[in-house]
């Protein structure tokens, strides 16, 4: 029991350190490119950089966890195929603008029930769509742990930078 606990804490520490190093590195890279690239005052630029930092944070967390977890795998897959998926989505939007109405109606017919709490959780946890409830809860637990770690690390970094 105690050894298990120690191992778990060490594991979280390990993940935390890995996440911190990865995130700092990607953050640095971003800063450098921004510095060479252009201005920071612009609202759109700031928004974009927020998005980028967020993605960097998620990516570094998923990388720190590794592919052993379903949620991290899903997250990595999503991030890796982000550009492609966005392109596909845009194309699909352009193509299916005409019969959009029809599709919406059909979807409504098929999914008539209200989304339950589990469905909400599924949406929140990456990769949760394809899990049964047991897996979902387990992954949620791990995801919460990692998110809390991430928040802590990012908070510390932000404090460091702002002070």
């Amino acid at each position: 029991m105690t050894s298990k606990h120690v191992r778990a804490t060490r594991h979280t520490k390990f993940i935390k350190n890995r996440f911190a190093s990865r995130f700092l590195r990607s953050h640095l890279r971003m800063k450098r490119s921004d510095r060479f690239g252009g201005s920071q005052s612009n609202e759109g630029v700031r928004k974009r950089s927020t998005h980028r930092i967020k993605i960097a944070a998620y990516a570094s967390m998923a990388l720190a966890v590794g592919p052993s977890r379903t949620w991290s795998r899903a997250l990595l897959f999503k991030l890796r195929n982000r550009a492609r998926l966005q392109g596909v989505l845009r194309k699909r939007c352009l193509v299916s603008k005409k019969n959009k109405k029809k599709r919406v109606v059909r979807n409504k017919v098929i999914i008539s029930r209200e989304p339950s709490r589990t469905d909400t959780l599924r949406k929140l946890v990456p990769g949760g769509d394809s899990m049964d409830i047991c897996c979902l809860l387990e992954e949620t637990a791990h995801y919460i742990k990692c998110l809390a770690t991430q928040v802590k690390v990012m908070q510390t970094i932000a404090d460091q930078l702002l002070l």
Partner: protein, 406 residues
């Protein structure tokens, strides 16, 4: 009719059982083919007339049709069933199938436990087992009744469903049997072969003889068998025992296991989510969990926004940060992150911390090219990142990861 017919019937019967026993497959109870493969058995047995001469056709049949059954993946359950004859559990099965003819039943017994010859002969002769076989070894052993037995004998008077439930408790794989039973009940009396008739008569006789006390005994034997059959397959299966009053068919058992799993996970989550300790009820807890995850994600978003808005000029005032750090060392954060002490040691107190942080200093040369290339502020940034990574190095085995990526 009773005496001679019984004897003849028994002879033919045993022959049949033996012939069926030659069949290579050991268990067919559990697979879906069981029911479908049954009708041919019945028809064949009619043709073969069950005499000593019928053995050939019987064995042929069994050779031809049972291997298919064996290849069925559902057989993984058969180890349970093979146990049953060896425990003489099939004796208890006899009253379990009241509706279908004993001819069918004997076939079933023969085909179920084909490997256990002696036991099957015992178990396969429903009329005999009361008078003669009860004195035989296995049954005699079963007579030793313990507390559980006496407890269960009270159930003996209860209807069939109860007994079936008991069997299901001991071994949840009897569902196919039940299904098969349903089939058999349609089959049996319609078959007009003479042996089948005899066996039917015998069956009836057995049914008459089996008074309440015998039923009690049988149930008791079942109860006795339960632990035996439950212990053996424990290696292969997650064995779940149902307590009294709980549903015992396999679906309910599986469902119960699932629910226990979910509640265990819920407990795990309860520890993780703050303010979730006093909440009972899964729905509320799920709400809480959802809220917590959402809040964490929003926090990440907010923090990334914060990081994005951080001015490089401000952020690069590293000396200010460090002086503040030194003045107000934030122990918790530093301990968590492991990089703020690294900063301190680098910029200010090399000499002081040097003995304490040999790893950081050792890993310095790896990163020196990066230091040379970067300008001042980036250098300070990098030292932060690098120090955290060196802390990681000192912690764990991922030194190799960091070097090539930088």
């Amino acid at each position: 009719m009773d005496g001679s017919g019984d004897k003849n019937g028994d002879l033919g019967y045993q022959n049949r059982v033996e012939s069926v026993m030659k069949c290579p497959s050991s268990g067919m109870n559990t697979n879906p083919f069981y029911v479908s493969a049954w009708d041919p058995v019945v028809s064949l047995s009619q043709i073969g007339n069950f005499g000593g001469s019928s053995t050939g056709s019987q064995s042929e049949f069994s050779n031809s049709s049972f291997p298919i059954v064996m290849e069925n993946p559902g057989i993984s359950n058969t180890c349970h069933l093979v146990h049953y004859p060896s425990d003489s559990g099939f004796v208890e099965l006899v009253p379990k199938f009241p509706g279908f003819g004993s001819g069918n039943f004997s076939e079933m017994v023969g085909s179920v436990g084909l490997t256990e010859c002696g036991q099957i002969v015992n178990a396969g002769c429903p009329p005999n087992y009361k008078e003669a076989n009860n004195e035989s070894t296995a049954h005699g052993a079963k007579r030793q009744e313990d507390q559980q037995l006496s407890e269960e004998t009270t159930i003996g008077a209860l209807p069939n469903g109860k007994r079936r439930r008991l069997v299901a408790e001991s071994n949840s794989l009897f569902d196919p049997n039940k299904n098969a039973e349903g089939e058999f009940q349609k089959d049996p009396s319609g078959e007009s072969s003479d042996i089948a008739k005899e066996l039917d008569e015998k069956k009836q006789k057995v049914e008459q003889n089996c008074g309440a006390n015998l039923r009690g005994k049988q149930v008791a034997k079942q109860a006795k068998d339960n632990p035996q059959s439950g212990e053996a397959p424990k290696d292969d299966y997650i064995h779940v025992r149902a307590r009294r009053g709980q549903a015992t068919n396999s679906h309910s058992l599986a469902e119960r296991v699932r629910r226990e799993k979910i509640s265990e996970r819920m407990r795990m989550l309860q520890e993780l989510v703050p303010g979730c300790n006093k909440i009972t009820g899964k729905a509320v807890m799920l709400d809480e969990i959802i809220n917590y995850v959402q809040s964490l994600q929003q926090q990440v978003e907010f923090l990334s926004m914060k990081l994005a808005t951080v001015n490089p000029e401000v952020s690069n005032d590293v000396e200010k940060i460090q002086s503040k750090d030194i003045l107000h060392p934030r122990g918790g954060n530093a301990a968590i992150l492991g990089f703020s002490p690294g900063i301190n040691s680098h910029q200010y107190s090399h000499g002081i911390f040097q003995p304490g942080m040999p790893v950081i200093l050792n890993s310095n040369p790896q990163f020196s090219p990066a230091h040379a290339v970067l300008d001042n502020e980036l250098q300070s940034f990098f030292q932060m990142g690098f120090d955290s990574s060196s802390a990681v190095d000192s912690l764990g085995p991922n030194a190799g990861h960091l070097k090539p990526e930088l």
